[in-house]
Amino acid sequence: MFEDTAQKVVDIITSTQKLEPGKVTIDSTFEELQIDSLDGLNIVFALENEFDLDIPDDQAKELTTVRQVAERINALLESRANGAAEPPAEA
């Protein structure tokens, strides 16, 4: 499950940032990838659409590495699967 999520996150960051395939790895940091605050917004937007979930503002702000992103998404997906408090996506 985590591997699938991680691969999707890597793919989304690669396409959103228009980077060459292979440049983004699970261990990349946003700093290394030159992802600034506006880029971060675009990436979070693309992730929310892809996984059909909402990433709360306070959690989104803390993400600075690809691994953190994948772990956060995974946690949100798991809490949704368990019917926990994660707010349901609209539509």
Binding site: Q17, K18, L41, N42, V44, N49
Partner: protein, 405 residues
Amino acid sequence: MSGRKVVVTGVGGICSLGLTAPAIWDSMMAGAVGFSPLPTFPQGTLRLNLAGSVQGFPDGRIADRTLDHTDRFAQFLLVSAKEAVENAGLAKEDPRWKDAAVVAGSGIGGEVAHDFAFWEMYGLKKPRVNPLLIPKVMANAGASHVSMAYGAQGQVYTVCSACSSSNHAIGLAWMHIQSGMCDLALAGGSESSITFGIMKAWEGMRVLSAETCRPFSKNRSGLILGEGAGILVLESEESALSRGATILAELAGFGMSADAAHLTLPQPEGAALAMRRALQAAQMEPDEVSYINAHGTGTPANDPLETKAIHSVFGDHARKLAVSSTKSMHGHLLGGAGAVEAVTTVMALQHQIAPPTMNFVEPDPECDLDYVPNAARPMPIRAALSNSFAFGGLNAVLAFRTYQA
């Protein structure tokens, strides 16, 4: 009005007639009319669907990531600025950029992004919108992106006065240089609002033509919306001479006025006042002017009013003027109109050719000037005006003359 002489050292433009200023000029010389039917919109049906859309854009002149961060109106401004700066021969390392101005007009701002995002929300019921919608939509985005592209840290802002936005912007940049606030300015404007929502709004005002734009022709039936941008590189004369720049023309004066009368019905007195003030600022006698790039929207209301205003300012000399509306070819760019028309006016001075009013088929007793109908005309042009009159009764007129040291 005294002050430093302001000269034009570069031009750039984009509209339905071409992706660069020379391409636009060539189209005008050929009498090309850049209108075509719009493709169908998913949002609904238009009653009138003719427009002057820019085809083949983006065209590789803007980096992919910048495209992601910008609305089409800012992209138009960026490519025009790039062209104008190259035309002026200004290097990115030039120390003038530090204090340079970027003054850009836009009547509406990032309407393409705005329309699409709201369609996704209201129409398609998507739960979230593009997170960069705010910085894409803000009307100053174009000026800001241009300032970032060149490191211009002087008077950078956007002017919003509907169809006069660009002329106001160019006029203000002229004032900044004239007064000594800066030596270099990129001035102009852009618009991109050929969206379903805005087309419906213009439909509702019942000023759009169903067939074509025929300024000053008796059977004129309204305006056609266009899109695009124009930029002039303005410099103080000393700045241009010191770096050996080619001077294309002098921006000699600027005049503005308000009708203070009606929200949408233009008044000849207001238009005349702006023209008089432009002449006065330029220290230009009326008979020095030989060409006017008219506001000339092709609406029943504008064209006789503009004719009347020109008569009142120029008296007997009005009959000797060549007056043309290039909106007959590129359509009405709204907040970007004055910019493309200022670029056109500079090229008219450079080439000594008056561009035509196309689609002119029937003289109107109320429009009795020489409108350069249907074919460009080589002629001596010492000085020229470019008129913009906006909804809200805001008028802005630029006065150019051939440069003389």
